[in-house]
């Protein structure tokens, strides 16, 4: 496991790239959604995938949570999966956010739509920072109402060696809403990512 650890420098560099990507995403989303969107500077954390389910089970306690997964592939072996976690109490806000009227889309469709908008906008920015570009798989719902999301998260996280936890909070003019994003990256892609970060650091 230690081989996957990041040095302080690498970590700071990644945080900086995430910040820039997030800033760009925030700007694009605000224009697209035609409302003020403040994406707060996200705190990123590299965590052991084993700890993820417990962490999020604690955070969401008894609330209904939906998990949406979206896979991405880049050049040079960079690949991974993002998981978005939503509190289902926020679904009404999502509908407004997307400009959907209540009846023309199912809850599942709104969740997959917003997930793909949020994650791909951010990931495109991140890919750009890394001099890369990503292609994406269609979003999938891993769990929805009445399913124990921590179990699903555990099953998904197990396949990955490293998780980059990015807390995103969206603040909108009329309502506030937040969701969490987790970036899961397999071991060999972590090595590639470290090489890319070293390259960027060397160029400075």
């Amino acid at each position: 496991m230690t081989t996957l650890h990041f040095t302080e420098e690498q970590r700071d560099c990644l945080q900086e790239l995430v910040n820039v990507a997030m800033g760009q995403a925030s700007d694009k989303l605000a224009r697209y959604l035609e409302t003020m969107v403040h994406l707060q500077v996200p705190a990123i954390k590299l965590v052991d995938t084993q700890q993820l389910p417990e962490h999020f089970a604690n955070r969401y306690q008894q609330q209904s949570v939906s998990l949406i997964s979206l896979g991405f592939f880049g050049d040079q072996g960079l690949r991974g999966e993002t998981i978005m976690l939503y509190q289902l109490a926020n679904v009404g806000v999502l509908a407004k956010l997307l400009g959907y009227s209540d009846d023309d889309s199912s809850e599942a469709e709104m969740l997959t739509d917003i997930s793909s908008v949020l994650t791909t906008t951010f990931l495109n920015g991140l890919a750009e920072q890394l001099d890369n570009s990503f292609s994406y798989a269609a979003p999938r719902i891993l769990s929805s109402r009445d399913e124990h999301f921590a179990d699903k998260l555990a099953a998904t996280a197990q396949q990955w060696q490293l998780a980059l936890q990015v807390d995103i909070r969206y603040q909108l003019t009329d309502y506030s809403f937040h969701c969490d994003m987790i970036l899961l990256i397999p071991g060999e892609a972590v090595l590639r990512l470290r090489q890319m970060l070293d390259q960027i650091l060397a160029d400075f």
């Binding site: 697209y32 400009g99 959907y100 469709e109 739509d113 908008v117 791909t120 495109n124 994406y136 269609a138």
Partner: protein
């Protein structure tokens, strides 16, 4: 470069639909997959608005998505699981599917022309009808299993466990909304003799025929279940004791008047019915107990009749307590 010349035939042979749009959502290109299924000619649609050519599209929703693709320069997706299709197209499995239209997974992604820098959108349409059909078959199997799980194998009425569960729910409902609720228990008279005389197959034929007859006389909301052997229960929601007695008497006469044919022989059967109605605070076991006492009383008074439960019938039980 030979690749250039190969791209057109490749797009024609592709077993997925390709729809290319410009930034005004006007059609630039549709491949053969789409053209043949939508019965369109490439040259006829070029330059026309997507929504004019495909008038069945979910316009508001799709427009919003495509705008997102253009302004954010990110892909968008649509899965058959959430929306069966975007383009109303026929599929190639007309016999094995009860859906007339192709189930689709669609990806919409941004494209930029390398020479001019102009923005385009490609909609890729994949046929997911197989997955859709399997999902439906699975759903049907689950529904059949659920049905089998609550049905009595011989008579086709509800089995005891399901029936008793429903009785519990009906009692809760009656309690909560202060609505009347009645319970009937009936038993075939001298069933043992019938079995001895005609054999078990004869007995089975009578059970099947009587269940069928009784079920036909009930309302849709009444619940008929086989309680055990030759004993059946009927839950009558929204029915008071007077109404329940009328139902019980009607069932008695109908069964007695009915001729059952078994191996070219005519036979008749009669039933005895115990009737009771729910009063606040009673549980399902107590209600069944009351109906059973009334049924016993009907048997004792000469069978082929309905008897309503009265407190006095069980007065001796209370004395014991």
């Amino acid at each position: 470069m030979p690749l250039e010349g190969l791209l057109q035939p490749l797009l024609s042979q592709l077993n997925s639909g390709v729809v290319l749009l410009d930034a005004e959502l006007k059609l630039v290109f549709i491949n053969q997959f789409i053209a043949r299924r939508a019965d369109l000619q490439q040259d006829d649609v070029k330059g026309k608005s997507l929504f004019d050519v495909f008038s069945d599209l979910p316009q508001a929703w799709l427009q919003r998505k495509l705008q997102g693709v253009l302004s954010l320069q990110v892909p968008a997706f649509s899965s058959w699981e959430q929306r069966q299709y975007i383009f109303k197209l026929p599929h190639l499995r007309p016999l094995s599917s009860d859906s007339a239209y192709m189930a689709q997974n669609c990806s919409m992604f941004p494209l930029t022309a390398p020479d001019t820098g102009e923005r385009y959108i490609c909609i890729l349409v994949e046929d997911a009808t197989d997955a859709y059909v399997y999902q439906q078959q699975l759903q049907q199997s689950v529904t059949r299993l659920q049905l089998a799980n609550r049905t009595d194998g011989l008579t086709g009425v509800f089995n005891r466990s399901y029936w008793q569960q429903q009785l519990g729910y009906e009692i809760q409902r009656a309690e909560r909304y202060q609505h009347p609720l009645s319970l009937l228990l009936f038993d075939l008279d001298k069933f043992k003799q019938l079995n001895d005389h005609y054999g078990h197959l004869g007995g089975d034929a009578v059970l099947i025929e009587v269940s069928r007859l009784v079920a036909a006389l009930l309302r849709d909301t009444d619940l008929l279940g086989r309680y055990g052997g030759e004993e059946f229960g009927i839950i009558l929601p929204e029915t008071d004791l007077t109404g329940a007695m009328q139902v019980a008497q009607r069932l008695c006469s109908a069964v007695a008047a009915h001729n059952i044919t078994f191996e070219q022989q005519q036979l008749t059967a009669t039933i005895s019915v115990g009737v009771t109605c729910f009063t606040s605070g009673l549980g399902s076991d107590q209600l069944i107990q009351q109906a059973d006492e009334a049924l016993y009383s009907a048997k004792r008074h000469g069978r082929n009749q309905a008897v309503a439960w009265r407190d006095s019938q069980s007065a001796y039980l209370k004395k014991v307590k």
